[in-house]
Structure formats: structure tokens, C-alpha cells
């Protein structure tokens, strides 16, 4: 028998939840940034750490890079992904064409498969790309991983998806390295969508290469995260705490940077960053987590950091998303693999599988993980 929720009861439930939530929020204190002290040095919240971002006449280039991937063929032991990496370069908010002949948008397919090796699951990924793109992509040898090394939930589709996204993640680093090498000069800034943290065993090698290149060419490497799951030690969102602190301090700055929040320790090879929270426009609906490569940040004083942020803030004036860099809006748009375009690729892949006479074997595998999607679409 179907039971339709009574409208009155529905509202009552919402009110109850709102009450609990507001009570919890008001009881919590802002606290201090909560980091694993083994890997990070964190700094207590202090209103003195707010710094005003002012306008700059700096003419340095700002480059942005982002990637996206979506699954074409989902199965428990296979995953075929459509991967895309895109970058752009701006100077004075005007787009600059690349100097080298690299395509700004690199697209490739990857095939990740898993097999049992004793208690471990071994993953490997093959890349299929245009000949011209291969030189910018990671080595397939580095796309091997096992559950022994990786922090993944074994035997889950989420684990497979995480492993399958490796190719795209690594490509972002390789392409960023090429950009620093060929497109950017001393003092220019490259901003990657997301944090500078690595999450795969072999990722370190790629990150190390790109950071070395950045240090060598004196190109500032930064990351800006759309979402930030960092909290304070009172389990409040770190971004929210700092925004509340700004309000409580009656901060008069339109644009500000809060730093230092935390800094990676030397021994933290997976994450080499100075972490800060930035509000890049007066009308920004939220502030963002911003990181600068630690080795570079160590050599920068407050003014140097604010100079970098001033350039980023100048690029964050677009009405579409005030306070978020336009370069990353653009990069997200061109890197994102959209559902509607996925269909075309799926059809081509399925017809090719059918032509090879293996569709009847692949199809049941797909159905196993596809049911959820089908239910969602009902």
C-alpha cells in the first residue's frame, strides 16, 4: 500500500530538524583549524590574520587548469572513462593564445580494469588518445595501483571510480608541467582547480616534477578549491568559521585573504602547501580555500602573497560567479564532460563492441551497476 506523507506532518518534521540544527550551530564555538598535526602546522583563528586584497597593476599571466571525466562503460571490474583536461591563460583579464602548439583541450579515453592478486586488487589503466596528445599524458606504467597501496574501499564501485579517475588527475599535472615549461614565465601564476594534495601512490612523482619545474622557472603554483571539507576543532566548517570571524570582527575589507590557516610540514610529501581562505570579491557568495606551493610560499612575504591574490581577485569579477576566478569558470565549462555529450560516445563504443561480437558479454556486466542510474531516471 502506498502511503502519501501528510503535508502537515512534513512541515512538522522540517521544523524539528531546523530547531535541532540551529541549536547545534549556535552552541558550537568557532574553534581553531583542525589539521593532522603530524603533517601540518596550523594556526589558531585570529582576526589579525585578515589581510586586505588591493588592486594591483601587475601584468603577470594567470593560467588556469581543470579536468573532468565521466564513465562510458561501468562494470564492477572495468571502467571506461572519457577524460578531458583544459587550460587557459589570461593577462589583464584578456585571453592569451598558447605559444606552443598544444591543444588547450585534451581529450582521451582510458580503460581501467581490476583483478585479484591474493588479498589485493590490482588496477591498471590503458590510455587511448590522439597521437598528438600522448606526449602530454601520463605513462601507463604509473597508472597501476593496488588496494595495498591506495586508501580505497576494496571491491566497491566507488573504489573503481577513484582508480579510474587517476588518468585524468595525472594528466592535469603533466599538462600543467608543459604549461609552465612552454607557456609561462617567471612571476606568472598557474592555478589548478582543487587542492595541491596527492591522493594516489604514483601521483607524487608527477606532482614533484611539476613543482620542480615551477620552482625552477619561478612560476607560482596555486590551487583553488570550489569545495572545502576542512573543519575547525569544534567541527565547524573552516570556511564558515573564518567568514563568521570576519563578521564578528566587523571587517571592512571588500576582498580579503585569511592566512596562515595551515602550512604543510617538511615531511608531508603528499601535500606541499600554504593554506589560506580568500574572499576575492565584495559580492562573493562564499570564500574559498586557496593554496600556494609551500616552497614558494616560504620565500614570499605577506605583500608578495597579496600581490598574487590581487591578480586572482581581478579575475574574479565576473557576474556569473563573483569571487570565483573567471579562468576557472571557463576551464570548468570546457573540461566538464556533460551527460548529454556522453551519450554519443557511449553509442559509438557500444556499437564497436557489438561489431566485435562481445556486446552480449559486456552488457550484463554493465547492468549490474547501471540499475541505480535507471531508477534515478524513473
Amino acid at each position: 500500500m502506498l502511503c502519501i506523507v501528510n503535508g502537515g506532518l512534513y512541515i512538522k518534521s522540517i521544523r524539528e530538524i531546523a530547531e535541532i540544527l540551529s541549536s547545534d550551530i549556535s552552541q558550537r564555538k568557532l574553534g581553531n583549524p583542525f589539521f593532522n598535526e603530524k603533517n601540518y602546522k596550523s594556526y589558531p583563528l585570529d582576526e589579525k590574520n585578515f589581510h586586505e586584497i588591493k588592486a594591483s597593476k601587475n601584468q603577470k599571466k594567470l593560467a588556469f587548469i581543470d579536468g573532468g571525466n565521466q564513465e562510458l562503460l561501468p562494470a564492477p571490474e572495468y571502467s571506461v572513462q572519457l577524460n578531458r583536461v583544459y587550460f587557459n591563460i589570461f593577462r589583464n583579464n584578456e585571453r592569451i593564445a598558447p605559444r606552443s602548439n598544444i591543444s588547450q583541450r585534451i581529450e582521451f579515453l582510458s580503460f581501467t580494469s581490476s583483478k585479484m592478486d591474493g588479498k589485493n586488487i590490482e588496477f591498471q589503466t590503458k590510455i587511448a588518445a590522439e597521437e598528438d596528445f600522448l606526449k602530454y599524458l601520463p605513462n601507463e606504467k604509473d597508472l597501476k595501483a593496488s588496494t595495498h597501496d591506495e586508501e580505497i574501499e576494496t571491491g566497491t564501485q566507488a573504489g573503481m571510480e577513484r582508480m579510474a579517475s587517476m588518468a585524468r588527475r595525472f594528466s592535469e599535472w603533466t599538462i600543467a608541467e608543459h604549461m609552465i615549461d612552454s607557456e609561462l614565465d617567471s612571476g606568472d601564476i598557474i592555478i589548478k582547480d582543487g587542492s595541491l594534495q596527492t591522493s594516489h601512490t604514483n601521483e607524487y612523482k608527477y606532482v614533484d616534477n611539476v613543482f620542480k619545474k615551477a620552482l625552477e622557472k619561478k612560476v607560482i603554483f596555486a590551487g583553488l578549491s570550489k569545495t572545502c571539507r576542512l573543519t575547525t576543532d569544534t567541527q565547524i566548517s573552516l570556511v564558515d568559521s573564518i567568514q563568521r570571524l570576519a563578521e564578528e570582527s566587523n571587517l571592512s575589507y571588500d576582498k580579503w585573504c585569511y592566512y596562515p590557516v595551515a602550512k604543510s610540514k617538511e615531511e608531508n610529501s603528499n601535500h606541499r602547501a600554504l593554506i589560506m581562505i580568500v574572499k576575492l570579491n565584495k559580492h562573493a557568495y562564499t570564500s574559498f580555500r586557496f593554496e600556494i606551493l609551500k616552497e614558494q610560499a616560504d620565500k614570499m612575504n605577506k605583500d608578495d602573497i597579496l600581490e598574487v591574490l590581487s591578480l586572482v581577485a581581478d579575475n574574479s569579477r565576473d557576474i556569473r560567479l563573483p569571487g570565483y576566478p573567471y579562468g576557472l569558470i571557463d576551464a570548468d565549462m570546457w573540461a566538464r564532460v556533460k551527460n548529454d555529450e556522453l551519450e554519443g560516445y557511449k553509442t559509438k563504443l557500444y556499437s564497436e563492441l557489438s561489431r566485435k561480437g562481445v556486446w552480449s558479454k559486456v552488457n550484463p556486466l554493465m547492468k549490474i551497476v547501471d540499475t541505480h542510474e535507471k531508477l534515478d531516471n524513473k
Partner: protein
């Protein structure tokens, strides 16, 4: 060649084009999209489509609410520190363009078709160039009617003249729908100027504003061939030109019926008098108090009507002899003006342009003069056999305020079977056509409008009139309503069964255009005597 825009959507009815930033497209502008892209082969074997922009609108990647918010912040002084990074990518214009013509060019040969396929998606569009419209150039311009230069939006292709075959266009009738001040007189002068030296077209011009000859200004008289190919009739002619006098003996009962409503009794009476007295029928109508077979009251009413429309009255001389008096300088009795109509028709048959200055005539008088000439010509041409007719020049008459004779009311009135209507319906068979000028096309019956196979459409701010023109055009102009409304002075659209597509034109300023025809005109001797026919 710079890209003007790029195809981003739409269909055959309206192709959507994103405008290149800062490169303002215009309504009515012609663009070209190539369907093959081999640059080596582009001018040897090329397929392209000509499109015309029908509408343009703002588009943005950003929601309208965002725009409104930002505008509000700026207007209310909120110092937003916001804007559009790369505004040229975020905000832009999209034009809707209609494919007009598909062209296949193989070296110097052009094959044109109505577009049945879409140009390739995302292809770039370029401004139209003379080369793209080379197929419009006639092999021989001698017997062609020049209308102006191809116009793309407000840009004029100075080296691309638009001609239509004079014989075809004139016999299939031309309509010039125009409101005041849109350059109608200038257009007619340019057309006449281009035809003046041609022996293949005789044009009768009923000129109610006395503006074509150029009595006090530059006009057709200043054409180098005007001595040989132009005649000017006026009730008050300048020295050297002909006086317009119509002898009342030339007037027939049918012509009178075309000018005023006659009851059946009056009509029968008129024919009876005409049968009895021949060409003196008007004189006798006034001269007598009694005509056998005509009721005295009918005769009295006839006299009054003739007096009203012809301005004739009875007077007695010193000996008491009855004579007719003429209030209008147009009509005369006796022998004066007996050959006026013959002379004019003869000139027209010689391929001349005859301008009748009707500025001092009233409406019925003007129409009567036109009717007399055209009736004579029409029946003359009707008598010619096919071979004879082929050797004769085509005849066309320029009639202003055409609904006077072609309007529903005029055509449906008892006396409405006028010669203009006859020509509109049957003239083509006998090489006689009309150039009808009107502000009110909607008053002309659709059947007549549809028979006007060439329309030179000037700007018109009246929606009803635009619709009447659009509905009867030779090409589909259903999307041109706004374009017609926005035509500036001297801009026109030529929609004709004799053109490959509805061609936007810019008509040159007559005073400039005639300079081409004035070479060697210096030292021309003026005629010294006013000619009086008959």
C-alpha cells in the same frame, strides 16, 4: 575576407548566426556562406548560399536576472566591482537570416537555385562581394531597366548595378509602393533616364507634380538623348515643348463613362448622340435642347455632367451663334488639338518617353488624357499581328496614385471598366504594361496586385500596406516586414519574377546618375518654338 559570424543553429526558414564581436550586422544585410572549403578550388568550383539578415537580437551566456541585477547595482551607485570578464564571449548578438539563393559557380558560369539544403553547421559567414553576385550582371545592358545598386544592409556595392529586362518587366507591370518622402520620384526619374535612349520602350508618364521633365531643375530634359527620345506636353509648356490641348472631338462616350457615373438611360443617350453626330457629339449635346430619342431631362443631366467633368459650357457670340466655352485650358474645339493624341501615340510607338504635365489638370482630366492615349494605343497594338507586334516597342504608362484607376472602388464602379484595368489584366498580351505608383497598395485588388510581377518596394511605415505588398510579392517576403519598415530614403527591395531573389537596392540620386548621360551635351541648341499640335 573577415568572418562576420558563424552558423549556430536554426533551420531553412531562419538560420541563426552568432555575430562576431564588434562587427555589427545589419538588418537586411547579405551574407555568404561557402559550402565547400577547399581554398584552392574556391573560385573554380564553388557552392555557396546567399543569406539575408531578417532580425537581430541580444543573447548572453548569463541569465537575464544577472544582467538586471548588475544594471541595478550600477544605476543605483552600488559600485559593484563586477562586470563581464571577456564580455565579447558572454554577451553577443544572434541574427536570424534567411537563405535567399543557393549558387553553384564553376569558373564564370553560375547556376542558381532556391535553397533546399542547409549550409554546413558552424560554417563562417562573410560579407557579400561583387564576385558573389556576378550572375546578376546582364549580358547586355542596352535594353535593360536600371534600378539601382545592390545594397547589403546600408552598405552599397557600387560596382554592382541591378538591371532587369526592360521588355519583360514593363509588360508584366511594375508596382512601386511608396509613402511620401521615400524617394519614389527619384526612382522613377532614374528608371526613365536609363530607358530614355532605348527604342524598345515607349513610356507614357502622367506627371501630376511636373517633376520628371525638369522644367525648373535637373530632369530628363538634361539627358543627352532627350531631343530624340523625350517629349513633353503641358498646358503651359516651356519654349520648345508641346502644348497639351485635347480637341473635344477626340473624346468618345466610353471615355466619358470612365470618368463619371452614367445611368443606363444617360449611357444609352450618349451613344445615341455619338452615333448620330459622330465626333461632334459633345458640341451637339450642348447645342440643342432636343434630340430625338433622348428624354429632355436626360439631356439636361448629361449637359451638366459634361460641364462638370470637362469644364465645358455654352456661350453665344455677338451674332447669337452658340459656341462652347472651355474653363480648362486642356480642351478646345475647332481644329486645335485634333492630332495631340495621334502625335503622342506615334511618339510612344517610336519608343519615346512622353511626359504629360498634369499638374494643372484635375483628376478626371488627367485620367481622361491618359485613357485617350492608352485606348488608342491598346487597340492599335491589338490589331498588330505577332510579327508586327514583336517589332514594336513595349509600351508602359506611369500612373501615380494608382488606386484611382486600379482600386477596388474604381474597378467595381459602373464605369470602372477603364483602360488601366484592361491593361492590368490583358496588357501583357499586347506588350503594354503599367508602372503603378501608390501609397495604398491595399486598395488594389489582390488579383491585380498579383499580376504586377515586379515590385520595387520602398519604405513604408503602414503595417496594412506592407502586408498587402508582402502577400503579393514574387518572392516570399513573409520575414521582411521589419526590413521594409526600416528602409531609408532611396533604399528599396526589388521583388520580381525576373530576379533570382528579392534584391535589396540603393537607388542613386538622380542628379548624380544623370551625369553619366550628359557627356557631349554641352552647347546643345535649345528649341525655340512651342509646338502646338493640330
Amino acid at each position: 575576407m573577415d568572418k562576420r559570424g558563424q552558423i549556430v543553429g536554426g533551420g531553412l526558414k531562419n538560420i541563426l548566426i552568432r555575430e562576431r564581436s564588434g562587427d555589427k550586422l545589419e538588418i537586411g544585410e547579405l551574407l555568404v556562406v561557402n559550402d565547400n572549403f577547399d581554398p584552392e578550388d574556391l573560385y573554380n568550383n564553388r557552392n555557396y548560399t546567399i543569406l539575408q539578415i531578417k532580425d537581430i537580437e541580444y543573447k548572453s551566456q548569463i541569465s537575464p536576472a544577472m544582467h538586471e541585477l548588475l544594471a541595478g547595482m550600477e544605476l543605483e551607485g552600488h559600485n559593484p566591482d563586477l562586470g563581464f570578464v571577456e564580455p565579447e564571449l558572454a554577451n553577443y548578438s544572434v541574427a536570424a537570416a534567411k537563405p535567399m539563393l543557393a549558387v553553384h559557380q564553376k569558373k564564370d558560369k553560375y547556376e542558381t537555385k532556391s535553397p533546399k539544403r542547409l549550409p554546413n553547421f558552424f560554417n563562417p559567414l562573410f560579407s557579400i562581394e561583387t564576385e558573389d553576385l556576378k550572375f546578376l550582371k546582364p549580358k547586355n545592358t542596352q535594353n535593360s531597366l536600371y534600378l539601382g545598386n545592390v545594397r547589403s544592409g546600408s552598405n552599397v556595392l557600387e560596382d554592382l548595378n541591378v538591371y532587369i529586362n526592360a521588355k519583360d518587366a514593363l509588360t508584366h507591370h511594375i508596382l512601386i509602393p511608396a509613402t511620401t518622402g521615400r524617394g519614389k520620384s527619384n526612382l522613377v526619374k532614374v528608371m526613365l533616364c536609363s530607358l530614355l535612349s532605348s527604342k524598345d520602350a515607349g513610356i507614357l508618364v502622367l506627371d501630376p507634380h511636373d517633376e520628371y521633365y525638369g522644367r525648373n531643375d535637373i530632369g530628363l530634359k538634361d539627358h543627352e538623348d532627350s531631343d530624340d527620345f523625350l517629349e513633353y506636353y503641358s498646358t503651359d509648356p516651356p519654349i520648345g515643348q508641346s502644348k497639351l490641348i485635347i480637341n473635344i472631338k477626340s473624346i468618345t462616350p466610353k471615355q466619358v463613362k470612365g470618368l463619371t457615373y452614367l445611368t443606363q438611360a444617360q449611357s444609352e443617350a450618349v451613344y445615341l448622340i455619338h452615333n448620330r453626330f459622330g465626333e461632334n457629339w459633345i458640341f451637339e449635346t450642348f447645342n440643342t435642347h432636343h434630340i430625338e430619342g433622348v428624354h429632355p431631362k436626360t439631356l439636361q443631366v448629361l449637359k451638366r455632367k459634361l460641364e462638370n467633368i470637362l469644364g465645358i459650357y455654352v456661350k453665344k457670340d455677338e451674332e447669337g451663334e452658340v459656341k462652347l466655352g472651355y474653363r480648362s485650358s486642356l480642351f478646345k474645339g475647332g481644329v486645335v488639338g485634333e492630332s495631340t493624341i495621334d502625335n503622342i501615340t506615334e511618339s510612344l510607338e517610336q519608343g519615346k518617353i512622353v511626359i504629360i504635365d498634369s499638374s494643372k489638370l484635375n483628376d478626371p482630366e488627367e485620367l481622361l488624357v491618359g485613357s485617350m492615349i492608352l485606348e488608342k494605343l491598346f487597340y492599335q497594338y491589338k490589331e498588330y499581328n505577332t510579327d508586327e507586334l514583336r517589332k514594336k516597342p513595349v509600351i508602359s504608362v506611369i500612373i501615380e496614385e494608382a488606386p484611382r484607376v486600379l482600386g477596388k472602388e474604381a474597378m467595381e464602379s459602373p464605369g470602372g471598366n477603364n483602360i488601366y484595368g484592361t491593361i492590368a489584366r490583358e496588357g501583357r498580351k499586347f506588350q503594354i504594361g503599367l508602372i503603378a505608383i501608390t501609397q495604398l497598395s491595399s486598395l488594389i485588388p489582390k488579383t491585380i496586385l498579383a499580376n504586377m510581377n515586379t515590385k520595387i518596394i520602398l519604405g513604408n511605415e503602414m503595417s496594412v500596406e506592407r502586408h498587402a505588398i508582402i502577400e503579393s510579392a514574387a518572392q516570399d517576403l513573409s520575414e521582411d516586414n521589419r526590413i521594409i519598415a526600416s528602409l531609408d530614403k532611396g533604399e528599396a527591395i526589388v521583388s520580381s519574377v525576373f530576379t533570382k531573389f528579392a534584391i535589396p537596392i540603393k537607388i542613386p540620386y538622380f542628379n548624380d546618375y544623370i551625369k553619366k548621360f550628359q557627356t557631349g551635351n554641352e552647347g546643345k541648341q535649345e528649341k525655340v518654338r512651342t509646338q502646338i499640335s493640330g
